[in-house]
C-alpha cells in the first residue's frame, strides 16, 4: 500500500463508517454500532500508516492531495508535513483504542439504547475522528475551519448522546458556546490573513504574513491563540472541559481529553512557527512568555482543582487542563528560544521535543485512564468515588491498567510521563541559566510550579486509585462489579503498552519527533539533540562541559527498579518462611466496615486547608441528636470547592448579560415588522456611512 493514496483510504473509511451507521440502524442498532466502530478502527489504522510513512520516510517529505474545486475563489488541498503527520499519529493511536473499546462499552453502559441513538453515536464518532484527522492535514483556511467545526459539532452530539438528563444537555450547551466563541476568534484571524493574501491556501497566507507589521502580527497571534486556548481548555477558558468531558461516553472522553485538546496545540504550533512566523529573527517577545505563563497557571490550577473532585471522570478532565498546561510550558519555551542569538537552537529543540513528547504521552495515559474509568462506570454505573472502593479484587485487569496510567500521569519513572516532564525540566533549567533578571525568575518560577504540579498529581492519583480500587466496597454497586469485557481490556492494554514502551525506551521513539521539529524549527532535529549518545541514553547536550550531569537512561532506570523490586520480593520470601496466615485488619476489636476506609474527601482535606485561598471551600455539617446534644444519631457532611474562574469571571459576566437582556426585553415590542424596520434603518445608515467615509 502506497502512502500517497492513504489519505483517500482514511477518508473512505471514516465516510463509510458514518454512512453505514446511519443506514444499518434500520436493520439493527447493534449492527450499526459494530460496523461504525469497525470502520473507525480501519480509518485509524490507515491514519497510523500515513503518519508513520511520512514521519519515518525521507526527511522533509510532504504528502499533498488537491481536493475537488468546490468554490471558484479558493483552491482546497490537503498536505501532510512532519507536524501534521505527528498529530495524525497521536490521533490515530488513541482512535484505535477508542474504536476497539466503544461497542462493548456502549452495550454494557446503556443496554436499552434505541437504534437511533446507536446510529447517531456511530455516525458522530466517525465524523469526529475524520474531522480531527483532517484538521491536522488541512492546507487551506477553508478546509481547516470546516473540519474544525465538524470536530466541534460531532463531539457535541457525542457529549449529549450518553444520557438524556438535563446535566448533559447543560454541559453540551456550555461546550457549544465556548467552542464557538473560540471558532469565531479563529475565523477573524483567518479572515484578516485571507483578506491580505487574496487566497485561502496556507502558502498564500504565509506569503501574506511576511510583510505584516509587528502589531498586527501579534494581534493575529493572540486572536488565534485565544481561539485555540478555548478549545484546549487553558485556564481561565477551561470551564466547559470538566463538565463536557465526563458527560460523553468514556471512549469519547478519552478522545476529547487525549486527542481533541491536542488538535488545538497543533493549531497553536502551526500559527506560531509556520503561518505567522517572521521571515528571520526570533518570534515577538510577548508570544512565548505569555504562552509559558498561561501554561504554568493552567498546570497548577488544573491539578489543584482535580484534587478536590470526587467524580472520577471529572477529576481526569481537570488533569487534562493540567497536562495542556505542561505542554504549553514546553511550547512557550520553544517560542522564546527559537532563533534566539547566542542561546543556540538545541535548547529550543529540547523544549519543543518535550512538548510534543508530552502530547503523545498525555494522549496515551489519559486515554488509558478514561477507558479505565469507563470500565468502572459501565460495571457500577457510579462515577462518584465515595460510592466505589474495593474494585481491585473484582476488576483486576482494569485496576492494574488504571494503576499503570496513574503512575504515568504522576510522572514517576519508569513510565512515559516522567520522560516528557524530565525533558521539560531540562529545557527550563537549561534556559534559566541563560536568561537573567526577571526573565530568569519567571523560568525558575515555572520550573518550581511544574515540580509542585508533579507532586500534587501523584497525591491526586493516590487518592483516585486508593479510594476507587482499594479498601472495601462502600456500596452494593461496587460490591457486585465484575471485570470488563475482553475487547475493552484489549483497548486498555494497547494504550498501556504505548505508555510502557515510551517510558522504557523513549530513545527509539525520538526519530518520530525528527520530522515535526525539523518542519517547525529548521534547526537541529530531536534525535540529534536528545539521543546524541545512542538511543538508550537521553541527554540534552546543552552544557558545553558538564553534559553528563543531565543524561539519563530510562532503560537502565527501569531495569534498576525491576531488579530492586525483585530483590525486595526475594528477601521477603526468604525471611518469612511460610509462617503467616491471612486475617482481617486489626481494628481494636471492632468489626471492620467500609466506613473505616479513607474517603476521598478526607484524603484531600490537608491540601484543601493549605490552598484554602484558592478553593474557598464551603462545608455544611448537620447533626441529628436524640434529645441531648451528647447522643448523636447521625452527622451529615456536605462540602464543595468553587472554581475561581467560574465564580469570579463567568458568574459576573452571566449576571451582566442577563441584566442586559432583561432590559432589552422590557423595551421590545415583539412586532415583527418593527424588527424588520430596524434592519432597514441599519442598512440605510450603513450605506450613508460608507458614502460619508469615502
Amino acid at each position: 500500500m502506497d502512502v500517497d493514496s492513504g489519505l483517500g483510504l482514511m477518508a473512505a473509511c471514516y465516510g463509510a463508517g458514518a454512512l453505514s451507521s446511519l443506514l444499518l440502524a434500520r436493520l439493527s442498532g447493534r449492527l450499526a454500532l459494530g460496523v461504525g466502530h469497525l470502520a473507525a478502527f480501519a480509518g485509524a489504522v490507515a491514519g497510523l500508516g500515513i503518519a508513520l510513512g511520512v514521519l519515518l520516510g525521507a526527511p522533509g517529505r510532504t504528502l499533498t492531495q488537491p481536493l475537488p474545486i468546490l468554490f471558484p475563489f479558493a483552491r482546497l488541498s490537503l498536505s501532510v508535513d512532519g507536524l501534521s503527520a505527528y498529530f495524525l499519529f497521536v490521533i490515530s493511536l488513541v482512535a484505535v483504542a477508542a474504536a476497539l473499546y466503544g461497542p462493548a462499552y456502549l452495550r454494557a453502559h446503556s443496554p436499552d439504547a434505541g437504534p437511533a441513538r446507536q446510529a447517531a453515536q456511530g455516525f458522530a464518532l466517525n465524523v469526529f475522528l475524520g474531522s480531527m484527522a483532517f484538521v491536522c492535514c488541512a492546507d487551506d483556511a477553508l478546509t481547516f475551519l470546516f473540519c474544525w467545526e465538524g470536530m466541534t459539532l460531532a463531539s457535541y452530539v457525542l457529549v449529549v448522546s450518553d444520557d438524556r438528563d438535563g446535566e448533559n444537555a447543560r454541559a453540551g450547551l456550555l461546550y457549544m458556546v465556548m467552542a464557538h466563541g473560540g471558532t469565531a476568534l479563529l475565523l477573524v484571524a483567518f479572515l484578516i490573513l485571507t483578506e491580505r493574501s487574496g487566497a485561502f491556501d496556507f502558502m498564500a497566507l504565509r506569503a501574506a504574513a511576511r510583510d505584516l507589521d509587528p502589531a498586527t502580527r501579534t494581534t493575529l497571534f493572540f486572536l488565534a491563540f485565544s481561539g485555540f486556548a478555548a478549545k484546549a481548555g487553558v485556564v481561565p477558558l477551561h470551564v466547559w472541559l470538566p463538565r463536557a468531558h465526563p458527560a460523553a461516553p468514556s471512549h469519547v472522553s478519552a478522545l476529547m481529553s487525549g486527542v481533541m485538546l491536542k488538535v488545538a496545540i497543533y493549531g497553536i504550533l502551526r500559527f506560531a512557527f509556520d503561518l505567522l512566523a517572521p521571515v528571520a529573527g526570533p518570534l515577538p517577545f510577548s508570544w512565548g512568555w505569555i504562552v509559558l505563563f498561561v501554561g504554568t497557571i493552567s498546570a497548577v490550577l488544573g491539578v489543584l482543582y482535580a484534587l478536590q473532585q470526587h467524580d472520577l471522570k471529572r477529576l481526569l478532565a481537570f488533569h487534562s487542563v493540567e497536562n495542556i498546561g505542561i505542554i504549553l510550558i514546553g511550547v512557550g519555551l520553544a517560542m522564546i528560544l527559537w532563533r534566539q542569538e547566542g542561546v543556540g537552537g538545541a535548547l529550543a529543540t529540547v523544549a519543543l521535543t518535550a512538548a510534543l513528547l508530552h502530547t503523545v504521552n498525555h494522549a496515551a495515559f489519559k486515554g488509558l485512564l478514561f477507558l479505565g474509568a469507563g470500565s468502572v462506570l459501565c460495571r457500577t454505573h457510579v462515577r462518584n468515588m465515595e460510592e466505589l472502593g474495593g474494585l481491585a479484587r473484582r476488576m483486576p485487569w482494569t485496576a492494574g491498567l488504571f494503576l499503570l496510567g496513574a503512575i504515568a500521569i504522576s510522572a514517576l519513572p519508569p513510565l512515559n510521563g516522567f520522560v516528557s516532564e524530565w525533558l521539560t525540566f531540562q529545557a527550563l533549567l537549561g534556559s534559566a541559566s541563560r536568561f537573567h533578571g526577571p526573565a530568569g525568575l519567571v523560568i525558575v518560577f515555572a520550573a518550581a510550579m511544574l515540580a509542585l504540579t508533579g507532586g500534587l498529581a501523584a497525591a491526586c492519583f493516590v487518592k483516585a486509585f486508593g479510594v476507587t480500587f482499594l479498601g472495601r466496597p462502600r456500596t452494593s454497586h461496587a460490591e457486585h462489579a465484575t471485570e470488563a469485557p475482553p475487547s475493552m481490556i484489549a483497548a486498555m492494554v494497547w494504550l498501556g503498552a504505548v505508555c510502557v514502551a515510551l517510558g522504557v525506551a523513549p530513545g527509539y521513539a525520538m526519530p518520530l519527533l525528527d520530522a515535526p521539529t525539523a518542519t517547525l524549527l529548521h534547526g537541529p532535529v530531536a534525535s540529534a539533540v536528545v539521543t546524541a549518545r545512542g538511543p538508550l541514553v537521553l541527554s540534552t547536550a546543552l552544557m558545553p562541559s558538564g553534559a553528563d550531569a543531565t543524561a539519563i537512561s530510562m532503560t537502565m532506570v527501569a531495569a534498576l527498579l525491576l531488579s530492586l523490586t525483585a530483590i525486595a520480593w526475594i528477601l521477603r520470601r526468604g525471611l518469612q518462611p511460610a509462617l503467616h496466615r491471612a486475617a482481617p485488619t486489626w481494628t481494636c476489636g471492632m468489626k471492620p466496615t467500609s466506613r473505616f476506609d479513607y474517603t476521598a474527601t478526607a484524603f484531600a482535606k490537608p491540601l484543601r486547608l493549605v490552598f484554602e485561598a484558592l478553593y474557598h471551600p464551603r462545608r455544611e455539617v448537620t447533626r441529628e441528636t436524640a434529645g441531648t446534644p451528647y447522643v448523636l444519631r447521625r452527622i451529615h457532611y456536605a462540602g464543595e470547592v468553587v472554581d475561581l474562574a467560574e465564580t469570579q469571571v463567568y458568574h459576573r459576566v452571566e449576571r451582566e448579560i442577563s441584566a442586559l437582556s432583561q432590559a432589552i426585553r422590557a423595551r421590545s415590542t415583539g412586532r415583527i415588522y418593527g424588527y424588520i424596520g430596524f434592519v432597514l434603518g441599519a442598512l440605510f445608515v450603513a450605506l450613508l456611512l460608507s458614502e460619508l467615509g469615502r
Binding site: I672, L680, F684, L687
Partner: protein, 218 residues
C-alpha cells in the same frame, strides 16, 4: 450584442423592475402584489437571459431557467394558494399609510442613485445603472416587509428584496458562480416553506395571524 446595446437593455429592464416595485408598494390588494412580484421575477429571468447571450456564460442560462420556474411561477403560485386556502379577502394591512410608504420608497430610490454615484470604478465595470437599481430594489423590498402587518405581504416583500439582491449580483459580476446563485434560490425556497408552514399552522391551531404573535411577548 454590443456593449452599449447591452447597457441600454439592462437599463430598460432596471426601469421596468423599479416600476414593478412601485406596483408592489402601491398594491392595495394582496393579489396585485403577488402578480407584480411574479412579473418582477420574470424580468429578472429576462435580464439573466440577456446577460447570458451577451457574455456567453452558460451558467446564466441555467439561472434564468431556475428563476423563471421557481420565482416567477412556483412561489407566486404558492402564495396564491395560501391566500385562497386561508380565504382572506381583506385588504393588506399597512402599518403606515400606503402613500407614506410610496414617499419613503421614492426617498430610497433617490438616495440609492445618489449614494452609488461615488462608486465610479465599480460602475464602470458593471452593466449600466444596475447597481443603484439593485440596491433600491433590495431596500424597498425590506421597506415593504417593515410596513406590512400580515405575514403574506411580508413574504412578498422578502421575494422582492431577494430579486434586488439577485439583480445586483448578476449585473455587477456578470454571472456569479452557479453554486452561489443556486444557494440563494434555495434560501428563498426555504424561507417560503417555513413561512408557509408557520402561517398555516398558526391559523389552524390558534386562529390568529403571525402578526398577532407579539401578544406572546414575555
Amino acid at each position: 450584442m454590443s456593449e452599449e446595446a447591452l447597457h441600454a437593455v439592462i437599463d430598460d429592464l432596471g426601469a421596468l423592475l423599479l416600476f414593478t416595485m412601485i406596483l408592489i408598494v402601491a398594491a392595495g390588494q394582496i393579489y396585485r402584489a403577488i402578480y407584480a412580484v411574479s412579473a418582477q421575477s420574470l424580468l429578472i429571468a429576462l435580464a439573466a437571459a440577456v446577460l447570458a447571450t451577451a457574455t456567453g456564460n452558460t451558467d446564466l442560462w441555467v439561472i434564468a431557467g431556475v428563476t423563471l420556474a421557481v420565482k416567477a411561477v412556483a412561489l407566486p403560485w404558492v402564495l396564491h394558494w395560501i391566500v385562497q386556502r386561508m380565504d382572506i379577502r381583506r385588504e393588506i394591512e399597512p402599518v403606515i399609510p400606503i402613500a407614506a410608504t410610496l414617499a419613503l420608497s421614492v426617498v430610497i430610490v433617490v438616495a440609492s442613485f445618489q449614494l452609488t454615484t461615488s462608486l465610479g470604478p465599480v460602475r464602470q465595470a458593471i452593466a449600466g445603472n444596475a447597481l443603484p437599481v439593485g440596491i433600491s430594489l433590495t431596500l424597498t423590498g425590506v421597506l415593504v416587509m417593515a410596513t406590512r402587518k400580515t405575514a403574506l405581504t411580508q413574504m412578498v416583500g422578502l421575494f422582492a428584496s431577494e430579486n434586488g439582491i439577485f439583480f445586483t449580483a448578476m449585473a455587477v459580476t456578470q454571472g456569479m458562480p452557479l453554486i452561489i446563485e443556486i444557494g440563494v434560490i434555495l434560501d428563498v425556497i426555504l424561507a417560503a416553506l417555513v413561512m408557509t408552514i408557520l402561517v398555516l399552522r398558526v391559523r389552524s391551531t390558534v386562529d390568529a395571524d403571525v402578526a398577532d404573535l407579539d401578544r406572546l411577548r414575555g
